[in-house]
Symmetry: C2
Subunit: 515 residues, 2 copies
């Protein structure tokens, strides 16, 4: 038997470490996943109201532990307490929003087709609804220790769906993960959900064991393409492939039109630089490439960006691996033929990296420029013409986001054409704003074609719950076997009845029936 | 350069062949997929009404060519003209139903979140809708030359979604495929859709080329696990994995309760035998295993099933490969320790196979008994107790369907328990009916956990369209850039506005606004 390593929590500013506990063994992963499997019927049986209460208990518990969690996350990442006050608020908001999703009930896609005669002959009574997949493995992200980690969107949406969750903690913030896991475990207990509904594991081997485990039915992952590919390889070796929902690499190109450059160069420069240096450039929606028109207005915009970057402080990245990878990648990018350094922040602290602005032209557009480099670097790409701009867009990889800064003087046809081209390369298009800061809402989409994700789903916003559900149909079923939402004369959720979408009867409506 | 083989259409009764044309070369596949890619914007721009017209034109064209198509399909499969009259009706019904789906518009999942202040701070204007994926490769199934092949559900739902389609014809019915493809190509032309919106290819290499092609964005497949795995291997070698929607192997267990056996043994026997021999046992929902209680009532049921099977005629299977595979597989099953032959249809024609009923006990339940054997064979598994029944269910692989035949005398708790167990192993549960004959409707689900499919989606029913769509979000977008369905004050489709689901305003409603 291999010896078990100890998980260490590192103070990212001082380098001092504290032990968190042992890495999770294969045997322990097996025990936890079996417990999750055993918990699945009980978690489903809690019902929508019971799981809504569970999610709100998680949110309340995180608020109660706010000071301690913010302190731990800041200590492990050096991202600052202000950032984590906001991220914790985002995380509790998200949990509570999924409670609303449960109460609203549309997510079930409930449909009732009564027995009928059709052109195909008699049709039996058919009723369809989404049901939970079973235990879900969630991989916490390095860059959002709360909102995309233990208590984050994958966990919230999977628990909402009725799926037990086993999270693999990210190695960069194990102490924060433990604090959050304790909150969720307490909420599980207090809400009457089975104890196996939630668990936390540590270590790379535990992550691989999770993905290979026969009882795990889906994986939620936020991380690198390389990490995703390793997990997808494990899935492809399973006798039963399972769905993998990966949020991976994203370049997030920004297009600045001639009009925007002419009308508000300073404001656009401030927005773009603020966005690509936010969180030390470690957002999945960081704008990594900015298409700026050639000419005086574009020059002024680039000069303003360069000034803003030069005035930045150097920053600490999330871990040594990311720091080394950024240093290597950004220097290789800067040394690429046709790429010049436009600005670099000051400072010589070897524990920090300097935000960096590079430049090139759309005519050359050397390939490394269109690859994501995780960290505080962005490349300005100057274009001479509409054709050169559209051609450059067509050479972009797909991203989570694409952004357009427009001006009043622009040809509206150009804006429509740019938006249309960008749609093929992104999951969200942003106008006159920054791509970072992904609002959690009903209409949000955080996803996109490969390599930004491998999925047709979102990992932010209410529809993220669809990832952890599958349809199920009941044919000619007795009422008592049907879930309440599909029974006759029930008015619990919006339903499609014989093809017609029906809302719930508003409260207070007199149905003229016996009460 | 390899020589190009000729595709042959075989008269399945006489063995005589006719050339259909050459197998599609790699170069031709590339040309067709590029044409599909070029057609994508035009097909999307047709809009929902334009694509609804296209689908109805396909349906009308199939009706116009009904006699010729039915004759060709019967000739290539020996399944009989009655069957194909029905299958063609099903196919046109399905095309027209997707036209209704387009007109109704809920499938877009349109959502509008207006700019607002939230606990997370200001939220921008966000609008979300599903958009087409791009060119889709469809693999026609051997067993449904119409409803699951060239003009079938995958093609209908992909075209409805706005995705150009390239179908790989099944080698067992190339002439039928060509007839149907000509109808669709004509409908494409007449509806003003770009010519590249639809194409047909022949040959195994063409299928592999399709799945590997960079411009293909998704695959719809109905066939064997082995065939699916070969295509998934190709996908896993792509630089960009694409979604694969496979409908694969399904055992479709049937549970007969003590009550059902006691109350209507003859009727249940007739239903089950009729279902497992329908289409020569070549339905994906064929009941391949029947759990029957031990004791006199169960004995009577099994005797009735055996009589019904013995009275059947031998049948011709879809092609030589399936015929050989059935003979080998069913004989191996019959020779398995603990399995006995209960009945075999008569006849000695070597070109035909005899429907076969086998028997074993839940106590032994040898493993081959729980694997799908494609063709007219089913295994009766006798159980002695509730525990033995539930244990046997837990040992079933997942299937598209599971069926329960109940009686009035049964403990309702038993039925609920059986239904609950079966739900974990199936995509649809059928009560007191047959699993074959999958109604095309809004509430239908034709899918299930691996190995019945690898997906969380259906391949039959209106929600099949979701497979070929991805979400897209617009943030702060000008009205003219938004799709019509997301513009302010539009009432084109049901939408979720600021979290609240809203139906379209019914026709004739006076909104009190200027007209």
């Amino acid at each position: 038997m291999d010896s078990v390593d100890t998980v260490q929590s590192t103070d990212r500013r001082t380098g001092s470490t504290e032990p968190v506990g042992p890495e999770t063994t294969t045997e322990e992963v097996d025990r936890l996943v079996r417990a999750a499997l055993d918990a699945a019927p009980g978690l489903a049986a809690l019902g929508r109201a019971g799981r809504a209460a569970l999610l709100r208990a998680c949110a309340d518990g995180l608020e109660d532990a706010r000071a301690e969690i913010v302190r731990a996350a800041d200590r492990e990442t050096a991202l600052g307490t202000v950032r984590f006050e906001g991220e914790l608020t985002r995380t509790t908001f998200q949990l509570r929003l999924f409670a609303e999703v449960l109460e609203e009930g549309s997510y079930l896609e409930a449909a009732v087709d009564h027995a009928a005669t059709t052109p195909m002959g008699p049709r039996p009574d058919l009723r369809r609804m989404l049901v939970p997949l079973g235990p879900v493995a969630v991989f916490g992200a390095s860059n959002f220790p709360l909102a995309f980690s233990v208590p984050g969107g994958d966990t919230a949406s999977a628990l909402a769906a009725g799926c037990p969750v086993v999270v693999k903690a990210h190695g960069s913030h194990p102490a924060t993960s433990e604090l959050c896991a304790a909150v969720i475990a307490r909420a599980v207990r207090d809400s009457g959900a089975p104890a196996g509904s939630f668990a936390l594991v540590h270590g790379l081997r535990a992550g691989a064991d999770l993905v290979a485990h026969p009882a795990v039915r889906a994986v939620g992952f936020t991380g690198s393409v390389r990490g995703a590919q390793a997990l997808m390889d494990i899935i492809n070796r399973r006798p039963d492939p399972i769905p993998f929902f990966g949020e991976l690499a994203s370049l997030n190109p920004v297009v600045v039109t001639l009009g925007a450059a002419a009308e508000r160069a300073a404001a656009v420069a401030e927005q773009v630089v603020g966005s690509f240096t936010l969180g030390a450039g470690q957002f999945c929606t960081k704008p990594g490439l900015v298409l700026v028109p050639s000419g005086d207005d574009g020059d002024a915009l680039v000069a303003a960006m360069a000034d803003a970057v030069a005035a930045r402080e150097p920053v600490v990245l999330l871990n040594d691996g990311i720091q080394e990878s950024f240093s290597r990648g950004s220097e290789a990018l800067a040394a690429t033929d046709g790429v010049e350094v436009l600005a670099r922040a000051g400072g010589t602290d070897p524990a920090r990296v300097a935000p960096l602005l590079l430049g090139t032209t759309a005519g050359s557009l050397p390939p490394p420029v269109t690859e994501e480099c995780f960290g505080p670097v962005s490349v300005v790409v100057r274009y001479d013409s509409r054709d050169q701009l559209l051609d450059a867009i067509d050479r972009m990889p797909s991203s989570l986001t694409a952004t357009v800064h427009r001006g009043a003087a622009d040809d509206p046809g150009l804006v429509a054409q740019v938006a249309d081209r960008l749609q093929g390369h992104a999951g969200r298009i942003v106008f006159d704003d920054v791509p970072t800061g992904v609002a959690v809402s009903w209409a949000q989409h955080h996803g996109g074609p490969w390599p930004s994700t491998n999925s047709q789903h979102t990992s932010v916003g209410t529809t993220a719950i669809r990832r952890f559900l599958r349809p199920f149909a009941w044919q000619g079923a007795p009422q008592e076997v049907l879930p309440p939402e599909l029974r006759d004369d029930e008015d619990l959720v919006p339903r499609r009845v014989d093809g017609v979408l029906r809302l719930r009867t508003p409260l207070g409506t007199d149905l003229g029936e016996d009460s």
